[in-house]
């Protein structure tokens, strides 16, 4: 969940130095008083230049932020429910917007169906400290959807199999 998706107005072109900075920090920022100076030393740049490049990448949206990525299970958010909904195609955009505005929905997307295995076209992720909390949030979503919804389910995650976030290849 450390990556979001395109705003796609204009693609920012990563130059070779930006790429080096990303490669140097994608597994983590140096935990020292001045991480920009430490990175600069590695790459032959001044701390000011490193900082300016990070600022530019953040302004362009290439970097959303420089932040802590928690293991939500270990924070007590043990129930991670992917609620999925079968919404009439003519109502999906409107319903998606309304569901996305609910404060407890962390991600909300329209995605394709794969019949006959998968009927659901609206995905809304909710997290809770108990199954009841997730179910209560799902029923609030259901109330918003009304009769545009022809079925839903909640997929709970039972194990994180991998969580590395987006990585650039070192090639």
């Amino acid at each position: 969940m450390s990556i979001s998706t395109s705003r796609s107005d204009q693609d920012y072109v990563l130059c070779a130095l930006d790429r080096k900075l990303i490669l140097a920090t994608q597994s983590g920022l140096p935990l020292v008083p001045d991480p920009w100076a430490t990175l600069g030393k590695e790459l032959g740049l001044s701390a000011d230049e490193v900082l300016a490049r990070f600022q530019r990448m953040q302004d362009a949206g290439v970097i959303r932020r420089v932040a802590a990525v928690p293991d939500h299970y270990r924070l007590g958010y043990r129930f991670n429910g992917m609620t999925v909904w079968n919404i009439r195609d003519d109502a999906i955009s409107d319903m998606g917007r309304q569901v996305g505005e609910l404060p407890f929905v962390s991600h909300c997307y329209r995605r394709p169906r794969h019949l006959p295995y998968w009927h659901y076209n609206l995905f809304a992720m909710v997290h809770g400290t108990s199954r009841e909390e997730v179910e209560d949030k799902a029923s609030q979503i259901k109330a918003v959807l009304g009769d545009t919804c022809e079925g839903h389910t909640i997929l709970y995650s039972s194990a994180i199999l991998k969580k590395t976030g987006l990585r650039l290849r070192k090639s």
Partner: protein, 163 residues
């Protein structure tokens, strides 16, 4: 680390954090200011020393409360692509398939979920064309179909976990 990190939610105790740890977790999910001596700036906000902040942060990473501290990238803006994909894997093959799927660098996260489609992963690639290539690769290595579910519309993305 084993391929399948089994941590049944029901078996986990609710974690206890000190007030200082809570403050660091909550503040640093929002983002580090892009200034010189950024940890000192955050430490000042939180009323602790820079040294204490760095120590708590390192400790939270060591305990794997935090999986990472660093830049959070936006694949679309980098000219790359993202998709969500799912697979239906019989129990007897689950661990083997997990290892094979996780072996692809493009698999950014992978979750086991309780459904007929029981493996859900995010692919992040440097070019849009790579998505189809990686999906074909996963299908060929595992022998199971991959259901690709790229987002068609995005309504909201906002993820913070207050403690």
């Amino acid at each position: 680390m084993s391929a399948v990190t089994e941590r049944q939610p029901e078996l986990q105790a609710t974690p206890q954090f000190t007030d200082a740890e809570k403050a660091v977790i909550n503040r640093l999910q929002v983002g580090l200011p892009l200034v010189h001596a950024p940890f000192a700036a955050v430490a000042g906000e939180l009323g602790m020393t820079e040294e204490a902040l760095l120590q708590i942060l390192q400790d939270l990473l060591n305990r794997r409360i935090l999986t990472r501290f660093g830049p959070m990238f936006h694949a679309g803006e980098m000219g790359g692509a993202l998709t969500l994909a799912a697979m239906r894997i019989p129990e007897q093959d689950y661990e083997t398939v997990t290892r094979k799927v996780n072996g692809f660098d493009e698999v950014a996260h992978n979750y086991r979920r309780e459904h007929e489609l029981n493996m859900w992963f995010v692919l992040a690639t440097e070019t849009p064309e790579d998505i189809a290539r990686v999906i074909a690769g996963i299908e060929s290595v595992t022998g199971y179909p991959v259901y690709n579910m790229p987002k068609q519309e995005e309504f909201h993305v906002h993820l913070h976990f207050p403690v």
